[in-house]
């Protein structure tokens, strides 16, 4: 399992509402609440895009690792943290916790934001994902969170698998590699893809994207667990 090595070290420019205290309280007015969800989801997407985070640990981001513990979720969260892609090296606490104004979004409200993203097709619970081709391999990375949280780890699709698929397809087209066989490792870590957007892509997410291509009949995935290859047509 790899973690994104290319994420930008520069700090993420938070939107102004991030320092607006009521932004961290669930609004009761339906219109305002909707606007709040919209702003939060675009913030989450922008944040993950900025740091190239593909999976987000909810309990990890809700601030368990830094200050106050939040009960039962903290144990599983902290146990799984080192292995988690995205959550491993980068502290995502700041996303839902503004230390400067000392306001944090509660876990329930985070889930509401995630649900809002899911309805939009921009997020997906890792454990709830049964049709993933490599659910077994996913279990390695997400084991800690997946067991405890019942959906603690979430895919954040700042690009959906379809979008990733078309990116890969476009790259294969432009480099004239149709018909050739590539390993998955080559695709995300190899020198040939350096400079492309999907360089450093999470392997599981790559597999999801390739499965989209498989369904379209544009590619075929074969091989064993750790040495999977793909052939483009």
């Amino acid at each position: 399992m790899t973690t994104p090595s290319t994420h930008s070290q520069s700090s993420f420019p938070f939107p102004p509402e991030y320092s607006f205290p009521p932004f961290f309280t669930r609004q009761t007015n339906l219109t305002t609440h909707h606007a709040q969800l919209v702003k939060w989801s675009s913030l989450v997407l922008a944040y993950c895009r900025h740091h190239r985070i593909f999976k987000l640990s909810l309990s990890g981001s809700s601030g368990t690792s830094t200050t106050t513990n939040q009960g039962g979720t903290s144990t599983t969260g902290s146990g799984g943290t080192p292995n988690q892609p995205g959550g491993g090296e980068l502290d995502t606490t700041e996303l839902f916790y503004n230390q400067r104004i000392d306001r944090r979004l509660s876990l329930a409200d985070i889930r509401e934001v995630i649900d809002f993203l899911r309805n939009d097709g921009r997020a997906e619970y890792v454990t709830g994902d049964g049709n993933s081709g490599s659910s077994s391999s996913a279990a390695i990375g997400g084991a800690g969170g997946a067991e405890g949280g019942g959906g603690d780890i979430v895919w954040i699709y700042w690009r959906t698998p379809e979008e990733w698929a078309s990116l890969v397809e476009g790259w294969v087209d432009s480099t004239g590699q149709k018909g050739s066989v590539l390993t998955l490792y080559e695709l995300v870590e190899g020198d040939g893809t350096r400079g492309t957007e999907f360089h450093g892509l999470d392997q599981q997410l790559l597999l999801k994207a390739l499965n989209v291509l498989v369904k379209r009949g544009k590619a075929q995935v074969f091989g064993q667990e750790d040495s999977q290859g793909v052939k483009f047509f």
Binding site: F20, P21, P22, T25, T28, T31, T32, A35, D102
Partner: protein, 653 residues
Amino acid sequence: MFLKHIDLTTALRPSYLPDEDLLYVQDNVGLYEGKYKLPNQQNGQIYLTSHRICYVDKAEPRKYSVALDLKDVERYEFYGGFLKSSPKVTLIPKATKRAPLQPRSPGLAGPASRSSTSSPATQVEGGLRALPVESPPTSNATWVCTICSFSNPVPSNFDPTTANAHTPLPPCLACGIKPTLTHVLKATISNVASRQPGTPALHTPLPVRPRLATEFSATRGSSSPFIQAQGASPQSSDLDASFQCPRCTFLNHPSLLSCEMCGGPLISQDLPAELTQQTRPHTESPGPILNSFGTVPSGVENSDSVKISFRGGGDKIFYERLKGSMTQRKWLLQGAPPIPKASRTRDSLGNSSNPSATTDAARDRPKLGGIAGLEHHSQAMRKNNELVIGSAFEDLEALMASAKEIVALAETFARQVKGASGASSASENALLADSVSQLGLITTKDIVGSSSSASGSDSLYLSELARTLAEFLTDDRRGVLKRAGGIISLVDLWAMFNRARGGVELVSPADFEKAANLWEKLGLPVRLRTFKSGVKVVQSRDRTDETTVKALLAWLRDLHEFPPEREVPWDWRRFGRGVTARDAAERFGWSIGVAEEELEMAEERGVLCREEGIEGLKFWENFIDTGEGKGYKDPKIVEAERLVKVLKEAGFV
């Protein structure tokens, strides 16, 4: 003109003169002048007070409301209504300084005499009608002497509501023994009590006695043509019937004026008009007299008589009370010196003065000065209070009669107690106590006539209550609304209102709420508002949600300019700061509950947003939903729109 334009209060009711008492209210009435309908005064409410009759138009109250002074009324007549014609009360003005006025002039009496001579019944009528004018208007209450059992008339100037221990009472006419106050009071009250339930029973002809016209031939001329027109049917059959004395039931000969047995007056002076009207088969036919009368060239003056047409009932009670106020002639009292309070006080205290009698006070005060004077003064006051209380509790009826005084006394005591204990609310209590007297014109259920339609019986009471409330709220002297920041919860208002009534004629919560719901319909300057949570508040009409929101926003915007009291981590120049319900309550003078509701209302409108923190619930200007978030768009659509825009700018589309 007989009718004068009047000023209305904020609640669209006539503004009363000092000392004026509201006696009766009836809705759904129309006005006639002469025989013609007044086109603009056909649907309104009639207010009978001790001094005036006021008509308030329903559609255009400010424009068409009129009043006439009772002191200008020469006579008043009653017409019971027939088929489609509603019951009417006719008021004929005095012929003051107006030479050609009214049927006294032979020229006008000429046409009238045609019908008056044609049937003996009308002559009877004429005599009967003239009677109330002719005979001194006394209440026919009597008290029976405890010594000799002679029934004495209660003096005409005896008013049970103002009578007290100092009211002079005449001795018994037969034996010369003075009656006790309570005895006379009881007699008066029982008389009033027996008269009131008797009103619906008017149809029973028992107390009525037809009189021979010849007895009153001298006065016949003074009767109005109207009456004679109305009195078209014969009633001669009654002439032979013996007449039962209302007091002892002895059957007297019809020509007798007083009972042979008990000496009681036989002519029920109160009721002749409506009774005879009731039995009359047809009325208000546009007879020749009416016609000629209406077309008299100088009819400007002649048509001055005003008819009030009661389309919704209530006519009889109105007539009764009108009669009462015409008898009392309260307008004569205006400016008159107060009834001297007699002098058991002075008897017992030697040279001590009654503090409320100004003449006495003026005489005695210079004699004493300084602390001695003050002490003397308060001693006299205490003595007087003792007397009042003593006489009031002698008897339950007497207590009822002097209830007003006792209530006022109790209020003063309460104020003194409060003042002694140094309570900070003393001023508030004083204000409430004062407002009791200001609330002199309260609407009670018995003032308001019940409409003939069963469903509408309560509505008039409620609408009057609604108006009273509106006046109470908008009265600048009291400033109820202003002190509450322009908004007050209905429960608070109910408590305040009932307290201001001084414990009498309290309003039930159900009636109160119903009345409050009527404000909107009646077009009064206050309105009832229900918050999301169900809390009902009262505010003036010009204060809408929009203005509240505007005020809140302006306040929050101000907070961008002024730095917060302590350091805040966020950018207060951009976001301002959050406010709690308490802050808002302080700022606008609302109660906390109202402030909460107002803030939530603003939140509901999307103007504010909330922040729940350790410091409690705070409200902020809404920077979350700033408009661009409305209708979250798919990025693809956004992209497509951007493309279209670029193409447009480039001129391709």
